[in-house]
């Protein structure tokens, strides 16, 4: 208890940045629709796409919890565009600067000497714009390969993968089964079909070397 109190005192001056709790992209989330009032005697529009929808590349990704819907404002959109442009420029720079890996696996790559990341470094990389963009990219690829047709079921399957620096999956396992073989197989198929992913940006390579990616497939919201 005393140790906790000391920790509490130590922790108190630290101001937790908003981006540490809520991913920065939440504000950007372009897929969040504003709720329009439906006039009386006017039935709601269909949720049926009348044309083939584009792969939802812009779909917001939550790290731990599903963020509350928030309507993007004009200023935020401007900010978002600027941040995206900056991030893209940054990533482009990173791609140009990125060393060509000598081996396709992290284990023997040049980054191996860098050592273990601290929790602060992990948190910082987790909330970086580069991570946000990279996650959105691979999320869109997985969704495009995820062929599942039931809409009213509540299956959850978690697939854990280890990524190589060239984007290949070097290890994969089912972290949590839904209990439905067909759903589990559809998720494994989607992940396998999506490999290799685009190579991660150089700044994220130490993180991917150390940590795994978990895809949480949810059947209830399809």
């Amino acid at each position: 208890m005393i140790a906790c109190f000391i920790l509490w005192i130590q922790a108190k001056p630290i101001k937790i940045k908003k981006s540490h709790i809520i991913p920065a992209h939440v504000v950007w989330a372009p897929t969040v629709k504003s709720k329009q009032k439906t006039p009386e005697h006017k039935l709601p529009p269909p949720d049926v796409p009348r044309t083939k929808p584009e792969p939802p590349k812009e779909k917001a990704v939550s790290l731990e919890k599903k963020p509350l819907p928030k309507t993007p404002k004009k200023e935020e959109e401007e900010d978002r565009k600027k941040q995206l442009a900056d991030a893209l420029a940054q990533i482009k720079q990173q791609i140009d600067d990125r060393p060509i890996p000598k081996d396709d696996n992290f284990a023997s790559g040049p980054e191996d000497k860098a050592g273990t990341l601290t929790s602060e470094q992990i948190a910082s990389l987790q909330s970086s714009p580069a991570m946000d963009i990279y996650k959105n990219d691979i999320q869109a690829i997985i969704i495009n390969n995820f062929l599942w047709y039931q809409s009213d079921t509540h299956w959850v399957t978690k697939i854990e993968i280890k990524l190589a620096s060239d984007g290949r999956i070097v290890d994969a396992n089912v972290l949590e089964s839904s209990g439905n073989i067909s759903f589990d197989q559809a998720t494994i198929r989607a992940v396998k079909k999506s490999s290799p992913f685009p190579p991660p940006p150089a700044t994220l390579i130490p993180l991917f070397k150390q940590e795994t990616i978990v895809f949480a497939f949810r059947g209830s919201q399809l």
């Binding site: 922790a11 439906t38 269909p46 929808p53 929790s119 991570m131 062929l147 067909s182 197989q185």
Partner: protein, 433 residues
């Protein structure tokens, strides 16, 4: 309390979630690409074998294509060498031939005969995972080839989609071939379209009795009086039941109580009555000076949903049959009609008219919440009926001119046309299991 919140924040701060989580809460809108290879024939000299093989595979391809969920790849695109056609096991197949044509599912099989009995052995493989998903063997006569294909189709659906499949089900409906409404039936995939009645008069409101595999319907008899009939499918026999006090709009059969609910114009205006299975009225369920029509049972038989204009325009209501408490479910649109309770018991589909003056199909929860439109800008879409597994809704639409029967997923996706006759179709009623 403040302490515990503080400690929780410290815990979160000092133990960041290191794994990188990505939520996948959407799926692709693409159909599932599947290659279906004609079963190899053991005795190539036997014409019957080749014929059964063709009938089987045509039926299977059509079933999966009509379902809307599958993209059945044209055999013209297959690149597997002929010498490998007989390789059926996952360990023998070179899946690269199928990956190259973007197939994710692969069906192969073989057929042989013993006297006049045919044995069909079929395999479903996962091309991506390079493994066998299911294998089935069917033994039957030549005229059972379609039935065997339906059953294997259901097995494919179950293995890949996790649903039971509806390929062996039938749909009853009203057809209008010569300007007269008759009772017609067809298989799920639109095949075996046949006229059941030839009354040359008005036939309406087909309703399935799954207990006896029969269909109730109403028609004007020879004396031009409305009459309740029962068509026994297995015996191909039509029984004339009781005469009715007025023409019926909407019949529904409850397998639990073995009763029928129906709107009758018995006492002036249309009210809903409970009838026994012979058509005799047992009880009046609604009592209102306005019209009550289109009654449909909940799957447990404890409630019914119906349409009434008691509050001005035609809206959907439900009634608890024990307490007879009525709850209004819809508050929007006009001309709401034909409510149908899903077999899973969680949804009600109905047709309604929006401000565009077109009738469309909608679906909502059984308390009226979560109202969603399923059809849009495709003429008039009416008379929804649920597949026995609740994974499809059949309906009529005049989007191509004449009113034809279509089916779709319960979210409105994968709409497929089932009938193509040059006349109108009404009131489809999907077989109940």
């Amino acid at each position: 309390m403040k302490w515990s919140i503080g400690l929780f924040i410290i815990f979160l701060w000092t133990s960041p979630q290191a794994k990188i989580y990505i939520d996948i809460d959407q799926s692709s809108s693409r159909a599932f690409p599947i290659a279906i290879v004609t079963p190899t024939v053991k005795n190539t000299q036997d014409k019957d074998l080749a014929e059964v093989s063709e009938v089987f595979i045509d039926t299977l391809r059509r079933d999966l294509r009509v379902m809307g969920v599958f993209d059945v790849i044209s055999p013209k695109g297959f690149i597997e060498p002929q010498k490998e056609a007989g390789l059926l096991k996952a360990s023998e197949i070179n899946f690269d031939h199928w990956k190259k044509i973007e197939a994710q599912g692969l069906v192969k099989g073989e057929i042989k005969n013993v006297a006049d009995t045919f044995v069909i052995e079929m395999y479903l493989h996962d091309v991506t995972l390079q493994k066998q998903l299911t294998a089935k063997r069917y033994v039957g006569k030549k005229d059972q080839a379609r039935e065997m294909a339906h059953r294997f189709g259901n097995a494919v659906v179950h293995a890949l989609i996790g649903e039971q499949g509806v390929f062996d089900t039938q749909i009853a409906f009203i057809c209008n071939p010569k300007g007269k409404k008759e009772l017609c039936m067809m298989s799920f995939n639109g095949w075996n379209y046949r006229k059941i009645t030839d009354y040359k008069n008005i036939v309406l409101s087909p309703a399935w009795d799954p207990l006896t595999n029969s269909i109730y319907f109403t028609a004007f008899n020879k004396k031009e009086k409305p009459q309740l009939y029962l068509y026994q499918i297995d015996r191909k026999k039509i029984l004339s039941l009781t005469s009715l006090p007025g023409m019926v709009i909407g019949l529904s059969f409850d397998p639990v109580s073995k009763n029928i609910i129906s709107a009758l114009t018995k006492d002036g205006n249309s009210e809903i009555y409970l009838l026994n299975r012979y058509g005799d009225a047992i009880k009046r369920l609604t009592n209102h000076r306005k019209i009550d029509v289109s009654a449909s049972y909940s799957p447990d038989g404890k409630e019914m949903v119906f349409v009434s204009d008691r509050d001005g325009s035609e809206q959907v209501y439900k009634m608890n049959l024990e307490s007879q408490k009525v709850t209004r479910l819809t508050f929007k649109g006009t001309n709401n009609a034909s409510p149908a309770w899903s077999p899973k018991g969680d949804k009600i589909a109905f047709s309604g008219m929006d401000t565009d003056r077109k009738v469309d199909i909608f679906v909502m929860n059984t308390d009226g919440s979560n109202l969603k439109r399923l059809t849009y800008d495709t003429g008039h879409n009416e008379d929804p009926t649920w597949a026995p597994d609740g994974n499809f809704i059949a309906f009529t639409s005049n989007r191509t001119g004449k009113s034809q029967i279509y089916m779709m997923r319960p979210n409105g996706k994968m709409q497929t046309q089932l009938t193509f006759k040059p006349w109108d179709h009404f009131m489809p009623a999907w077989e109940r299991k």
